[in-house]
Structures are given as structure tokens and as C-alpha cells.
Amino acid sequence: MKIWVPLDSAAVALGADDVADAISAEAAKRGVDVTIVRNGSRGMIWLEPLVEVATDDGRLAFGPMEPGEVPALFDGLESHAKCLGLTEELPWMVRQTRLTFARCGVIDPLSLHDYELHHGLKGLKRALSMMPAEIVQEVTDSGLRGRGGAGFPTGIKWKTVHDAAGPQKYIVCNADEGDSATFADRMLMEGDPFTLIEGMAIAGIAVGATKGYIYTRSEYPIAISQFQKAIEIARREGILGPRVMGSDYSFDMEVRVGAGAYVCGEETSLLNSMEGKRAVVRAKPPLPALEGFMGKPTVVNNVISLASVPVIMDRGAAFYKNYGMGRSHGTMALQIAGNVKYGGLFETAFGLSLGEIVEDIAGGTASGRPVKAVQVGGPLGAWFPPALFDTPFTYEDFAAKDGLIGHAGLTIADDSVDMLKMARFAMEFCAIESCGKCTPCRIGAVRGVETLDRVAAGDPSGIPLVADLCNTMKSGSLCALGGFTPYPVMSALTHFPDDFATAKEAAE
């Protein structure tokens, strides 16, 4: 009997380890030979811990499983109370286009054999048969844009590093996924780490870098240990090291762990942190592509950007580019979170409307109350009211509505949310996490909290001040922390004016 029990953080947080132990114990008790594979998550977080059992027809899904329901698994599969049917046929799975997350939840994350059985290493093998400039061109042609949030064309960034002279270049993977509502990087590092290793190796070969770093978060202990194990396996098997897959290219990597500073997700502050400095944002230019880690040419890419490269190299630029809408090509791993009925990771081509995502795919709120607002793009993203649910999910369409898609996290909130409180929290968060370099961010955020408190206490004269302050922060900050905190604040103020007026009226 072969059984999959996820080791994904979300599954573990919901009791997957206890379920795995219960399966081992029950199997031992009954004398049944069971192989338990600790896989990644399929992304259906509301069903975690999602247990799968191999059958002749495919993998049968059971969830959310509790340890007490394990013995019944051995009495009959289809008759089990938590049997959901074949995993691959569940509506959530059928509707997706899984390119970057094709293997996540499917394979044993630490089995290179499993990885290769599912198209793994094909992209790297093809890259090794090409000239570096051709690899860069292929990535450029795919239309892949930075999945961390900024949406900068990945190929252009790579070309800058490729063309830069220097004996030492670096690939830095930004896995400092600090945005609330995002967990795609974590899921990939836990559920399919070899994809990221392969993507980074291809990047190294393409731009002439021999060393890679993954900078991730101390809040992600499972991702860290899982990824470190994967690196060791890749090194042992010759994927990493002085001769990548037997070629003349050398590439190796190591994990670096942050220390709880949100601002490190900004690439220049990340580089300072890696160099052992205070994670203060650097002014650009110079671009990290020319003077990055230790002053050397450096590619800084998000996990999902790098992890999308293997499928692009395997299937070709045109295959990838054909997905999507307008200038947003390929797929995006939506992370649906907050007060939501069906929360989790849903990979799909760009272009679905926000309403389809929230009402249809996510099924509305978990509380059953009406959706009031959806924050798209993490704590620096705008809150969208249902009136804007026709907005297509692309970089351009969200920008046109004074929002951003960021790293594609969506926080859904029901009608109990107080948008004045959320605006205040955005300012408070900015004040706590500001690196201190730019005055509008460092001081403005503190003044923002104070002014919103005045508004809450019934002083309407604070509202134009907040708007003015947001303007100053937007144009006077070097990075997105100070520059984008105005998005959640101003969108709350613009779309939900009643929440800012009630306190005032109450005071009158």
C-alpha cells in the first residue's frame, strides 16, 4: 500500500504528522506493508491534511484527515467517510494549468528519480546543449516576468548580467516571501525543490554565474530543511558542483536565512542582508544586475520566476508564451487566502477576472457572509471592492485600477472587516518594518498611524492629510515598502469611505 501524506507546512500545521504516525501505527498493528511518501501539498489547503492512496485507477484523495479516521482507511477505501474521489479529477485540480507546480504534491520531493520521471532535468539538459546567449533569448521570448511582484522581464535582467564583464557573478533567489496571503515560494521549496535548483542552475549557465544563494525566511523552518536536503542530494548526484551534469559548467548554491525583517524581500536590502549588513535599501543605480551581491553582477529573481524556467526550457518559449493575456504571459500561481471557503494555491493562465477567482474558484468566504474586500498583492497591495471584480488578473489591468498583482496573493475579507482598521494596520506595519532610509517611510508611516487614529476618533480633517501623506510616501520612497503602503491605505479610503465616516458621525 502506497500512501502520500504531505509534509507541507500548512498540512503539518493542521496535523499531517499525527496522521502519518497514525498510519504507520495502524499498518504495524494490522501487519500491512505500507510505504508513506511525504509529498508537497496539492494546494487544496481546506482539505489538508490531504491523504492519498495509490489504486489501479490513480490516487484516491481523503481529507481533511484526522488521526482517528485512519483505521477505517484499512477497512475499505471508497467506503471511507472522507473519500473525495481521484485527486486528479477533483474540480480544483481539473481547472488548473499546472506548469510551474506540475510536480508539486505529485512526486516525492526528495526523489531525483521521481523528479526525472516527471519531466525533471529536461530543461537543464536542453540548456546545456545551447549557447548561454541562446538560453537568455529563450527566456526573453517566453515573456516571463518577475513573479516576485515587480513584473520586470526576466530575460532582460538575465541579458544585463550575461553582458556584464566580471570574473564572479551570482544568482540570488529571493525566497523572502513575507507578504501576507502568499505561500507559493514556500510550497514549491517544500514540495518540489529540485525545480528551483534546476532553474537556478540554468540561470547560472545562462549568465555565467557559478554561485547561487537562496535567501529565505526564518519563519519557514520546513522549507529551509527540505531545501537543504535537496541541495545535498543534487550535489551528490552531480547536478550541482564543479561539473553540472558532467558538463564544463560549474554551479553550486547555499541557503541563507533571514532574521524576521520584512524589508529584506526588497532586492537591494536582501543583498545588504546577505552581505551581513543592516538590511537598508540601496539606491538604484547601480542595478544589482551590474553591482549586486559583493558588488558583482547578480541576477536576483523570485522563486517562482526561477522555478518557471525549467518548463520554459523543456517545452520551449512559444509553449509558455501562448498562455496568458495581453503582455502578461504564462501562468500565475494564485494564492487564495484569508476568510475563504476554498483556500490554497491555484495555478492558471493570466486573465481570469477577480470575481471568477473570488466567487467561483474560492467559493466566497468561509464565514458564509458577503465578501467586502479583497486585498491583492500582499500588505502593499490595494483592497478591491466587489464593484471592481470584473478586473482581469494581469499586471496591466490591475495597475490601471490603482492596484497591483504583486506575488499573486489574495486576502479575502467578509463584511465584518473594518477598512479604517486595515488602513491603520498598513501604516503600522510600514512603521514597524521600515528600514529607516527614507524619511517619508520612516516618519510618514508613524504619522499615518497617528492621523488615522484622529480620523477614527472623529476628526475628519485627518482624511486629506492622510491622502497628502500617501502622496509624499509614494513619490519620496526608494522602495515598495514606503512607496506602496499608500495602496492599501488609499484603496480603503477610496472604495470604503463609509468606514472612515462612521466614527466621525458617531462623534458628532
Binding site: 500548512a10 500545521a13 533571514g258 549588513k277 484569508g338 490554497g344 472587516v417 486595515m422
Partner: protein, 159 residues
């Protein structure tokens, strides 16, 4: 509050082993600080000048880096560190109410430790459990869909 133990000769020995283990790596300061906190439970302030001298940076620089990051603590934490997520996705499913209840029950505010040195309460901004919030972490162990009952059960043995 637990007392901060003196940084003695054994401490210096441990520190020197940590410094030796990090020779030759690029940007060693954060990995060193993590290792020191792992070994001592906090970053003893007496260690900073020694680290600074070893890396040929100023004491001010070492202090500046340590104090920049939320993770590093100058004094030991309680025996159990409870981290509660305060970010938006968790807020949308009641993280604020849970935090208020917890603070009241423990009689402490954020960053504080209970009188008996048992529990330290820390805010955290996202554990990546945004589809199964409110999220918590108890001595490194992740907890999804946390509520007062779940936390009570986990913290039962802590006091």
C-alpha cells in the same frame, strides 16, 4: 523575566567554535548571529565585540546589524515562545481577537515574558499559513486554524 546568564569562559569557547565554523563564507555575520542565538538562546552582548573584532568590523556595526533584525534577542526568552501572526490574511479570520484573548490570559503584551519565565509572546508577520489562519508557532511548531482552545492545550504543559 528569566535572568540573563553571565557570558563565561565556556561561552567564549562556544563563540570561538562558531566563528571558526564560519570562516571563508561570504557575508558571514547573519549566519554567525543565528548560530550564536541557537547556542545561547539569545545573543549575549559580550559576544558582539568579539564577533566584530573577528570580522574586522566596528562594534557599532555589529550592534547595528543585530538590533536591526526582529529575530535576534539580547536576553533569553521564556521556555516557550509563542508567535502569533498579525498579518492581514490571519486578521480576516479573527487573529486580532485571538491575540487580545491570549494577551489577557497570559497577562503580558507583545514581546513580554510571563513572570514565571514560562512563556514569551511574539508577533509574527506571516508564517505562510494564510489559507488556514489564524496561524501560530509554538517553539518552532506550526499551528493552523489556531483558536483559544487549541492554544490552551498546547500551552498546558508550558507553565
Amino acid at each position: 523575566m528569566p535572568a540573563t546568564p553571565a557570558f563565561d569562559a565556556a561561552g567564549e569557547e562556544t563563540l570561538s567554535e562558531i566563528l571558526n565554523a564560519h570562516r571563508g563564507i561570504e557575508g558571514p555575520l547573519l549566519p554567525i548571529l543565528h548560530a550564536v542565538q541557537e547556542a545561547f538562546g539569545h545573543v549575549p552582548q559580550e559576544a558582539l565585540p568579539i564577533i566584530a573584532q573577528d570580522l574586522n568590523i566596528s562594534r557599532a556595526e555589529a550592534h547595528g546589524v543585530m538590533s536591526f533584525y526582529h529575530d535576534f534577542r539580547e536576553n533569553p526568552a521564556g521556555r516557550t515562545v509563542l508567535k502569533l501572526c498579525r498579518a492581514e490574511a490571519c486578521k480576516s479570520v479573527g487573529a486580532d481577537a485571538l491575540a487580545d484573548q491570549t494577551r489577557e490570559k497570559l497577562g503580558i503584551d507583545w514581546h513580554d515574558t510571563t513572570e514565571d519565565g514560562a512563556i514569551t509572546l511574539e508577533p509574527v508577520f506571516c508564517l505562510g499559513l494564510c489559507a488556514c489562519g489564524p496561524a501560530a508557532m509554538v517553539n518552532g511548531k506550526l499551528v493552523g486554524r489556531a483558536d483559544a482552545a487549541k492554544l490552551d492545550k498546547i500551552l498546558e504543559g508550558a507553565r
